[in-house]
Symmetry: C2
Subunit: 426 residues, 2 copies
């Protein structure tokens, strides 16, 4: 029979079981934090009408999109979880209870060139809080707090850099540089990579205020920001919002560091206030693993209802990928079996009884029923890195005493099943 | 600003929060049962090379597929979780530990006409057990057991009808009807709908053995099957396998009814032995909510390694849809908040302290910090159906005694926070 080569598209992650378990555990932890914070779950289709998904997008985004026709429909695969959320909130605007807080974990698609090892299919983990009309600044702080809680729960350190769109846009207005705003922001966006000197050089080419701008973006505390000599209404509003935000954070006490940093730009043009970015610490260079910000009018392309919101997005696949490539993940188990039950002699029926009792006690397990040698079964449990085994022979059945072997330490505890269950449930 | 109509593609399920929570709970329960049984998790891309995904398919399947090109790639969206699993097991054949047991929960895509309310995007929940060369018949029994456990955990009753491909194919050989096999199976497949009389009538048109065939498919016990007068090697093997399977089930004791029923056909031509189908009971007519069977050679299109397997697939979206349409689901909560903390006066800071303590104790909650009236906040908690509220005023802070109000009963318990947490954790 002719064979087709089994292969997976470039940029599409597919993991062997031991890695998949670690990935899923990370996903579960993120989900738990979202739910602990009372967010509603959401799940939207991966396919949408192109007209709906691209109501706003254009340029770069559109080029990356997976788009096709099926029957009479012009269809796109979602490229983020924000646009589908905007659509969703317009559809359900009369059923939702505001402020509406949601989370969504799902795959998104971007057909980028994959040279840089970029993923084309990846999980995003989003939360958003939206309200009719005005949304409290506490919501921004809550997003930062949840972002921090997530990385606490994953056991990695991040630094969250926070700014506000109004600061730079107000300042550029004050310096009469509105028209060069896109160019200037573009240069500032590269500052992390090219450093302040090169940034100054590039800014000097287009404005005489390069020193002032660089000085502004170097500011790292609200106090210094409040003292700066820029008199512009939008700027002042930005300062006030940032001040309020950091005051609330003093109460919420996120365990990861949150700093003011005007060098973050966040490309997406729908942000209008608070913006932030989370960098994973502990690697040679800090990696961006999430971010978000505030938008004034989420669903303006679909409805007249004004929905102000703030959101966070965490790039889970990218995070996993970076951690994996830096050997920061520990892969052990390949399944969820906590116990492998191995028959010795003709004891299979009894093994299944045991298995049922363990499952009733919520202890995951499997009976090694397959028609292979005892040694082969031991080897199977070993290779699968099942944490415990119980060997069941005639002797064990008669005495109703079983040996629970810890496969890592080699230690065996012999006891009644009910006592072994207590150990397994610890 | 011009608006785009917010709408979702036909056949794509999108749920409001209270329904999404119920859907997710069902998904979580299914996942838990898979994990309790020690299965490894899997996650494969939604997009695959068309050449890979369609290595075997053809005809009907191919017409339903979402297929397109992007750059130089001819791409398909997966239409089930079995073909991607076959590809996966060929790619990882040297890393997997056999027998390999996996589960996968994910969306699949079929661009069917949607007249009948059929879904085009839907969740499937699959498990499979594969082994190199021969696979123990215990694996078939394990699949049936897990299928039963899943519906126990969902709290619905199913009847699992089991047959074996070898029975009918052996019998038709015995009657020298191999060449009319497809036609006959096609008629038998409709028996549930058209009834035995009409079936007999249709069979009579193409064979003189219509009575014998109908008599065979009416058999409902292994004992009767063993007594039937068909002398054919394949048939006898089928009887032996069914007998063994039912003997193992006597040990595994699934709580849902499992019956022999030769009237189930299961269209997919890759099944070679055991086949089964689960029908949801309690509705006006029984609805198929899952099924599966055994295949001799899973990955034959991709590798020379022979992988025998048996699998189950549960149509979660369809199950949810049927239950919902029959008003069998109860929708209450719209979020995961167990407690809403409501400030009375200037007590917001203290509310956040409380919130943190509750979260540290794994009690999901939210602080109603938004800038609205107290009455409005009560109303919000009520509409969201948050089970408990705590109102925090100066009095509560001074006394360190809080009132926990059960929103359903209206009962308030006043106590120290640590005692309230005990109640909330129950």
């Amino acid at each position: 029979m002719q064979k087709t080569k089994a292969r997976t598209l470039a940029g599409f992650m597919e993991l062997e079981p031991s890695k998949q378990i670690v990935f899923n555990n990370m996903k579960e932890k993120i989900k738990s934090v979202f739910e602990l914070n009372g967010l509603s779950p959401m799940d939207t289709p991966i396919l949408e009408y192109s007209e709906v998904l691209l109501a706003k997008a254009g340029g770069e985004t559109e080029k990356q999109i997976y788009r096709f026709t099926k029957g009479e429909n012009d269809i796109c695969m979602r490229f983020d979880l924000t646009v589908p959320f905007a659509k969703y909130s317009a559809i359900f605007e009369n059923q939702l209870i505001f402020p509406f807080k949601r989370y969504q974990i799902g795959k998104v698609y971007r057909g980028e060139r994959t040279q840089k090892g970029r993923l084309r299919e990846f999980y995003q983990c989003d939360m958003d809080i939206i309200d009719e009309g005005e949304l409290s600044i506490y919501a921004d702080a809550e997003c930062l707090s949840v972002l921090s809680q997530i990385f606490e729960s994953l056991d990695y350190y991040i630094k969250i850099r926070v700014s506000n769109r109004k600061l730079l846009s107000g300042a550029l207005s004050f310096y009469n540089l509105q028209e060069k705003s896109a160019e200037i922001l573009n240069i500032l966006d590269k500052q992390d990579k090219i450093g302040p000197e090169k940034t100054l050089e590039e800014l000097s080419k287009i404005t005489t205020k390069s020193n002032e701008i660089l000085h502004l973006t170097a500011i790292d505390s609200v106090e210094k920001l409040q003292k700066i000599d820029i008199n512009n209404e939008v700027f002042n509003q930005g300062v006030e919002e940032i001040n309020e935000l950091f005051n609330i954070l003093k109460i919420l006490k996120p365990k990861n560091e949150v700093v003011l940093d005007l060098r973050i730009i966040r490309g997406l043009d729908y942000y209008t206030g608070t913006i932030f970015e989370a960098n994973l610490l502990g690697l040679c260079e800090p990696i961006s693993v999430g971010g978000g910000g505030r938008y004034d009018n989420l669903a303006e392309n679909y409805t007249n209802k004004k929905l102000a919101g703030v959101g966070v997005s965490i790039g889970l696949s990218r995070l996993f990928d970076v951690l994996d490539k830096n050997n920061l993940l520990k892969f052990t188990n390949t399944s969820f079996s906590k116990v492998a039950i191995i028959p010795l002699g003709d004891t299979l029926n009894h093994c299944f009884e045991l298995s049922r009792v363990l499952k009733n006690n919520n202890v995951s397990n499997e009976v090694l029923y397959f028609n292979k040698s005892f040694k082969n079964k031991l080897n199977y449990a070993n290779r699968k890195k099942v944490p415990y085994i119980i060997v069941v022979g005639e002797k064990e059945i008669k005495a109703q005493i079983y040996g629970l072997k810890n496969m890592e330490t080699g230690k065996v505890i012999e006891d009644k099943l009910e006592n072994l269950i207590k150990i397994l449930k610890e």
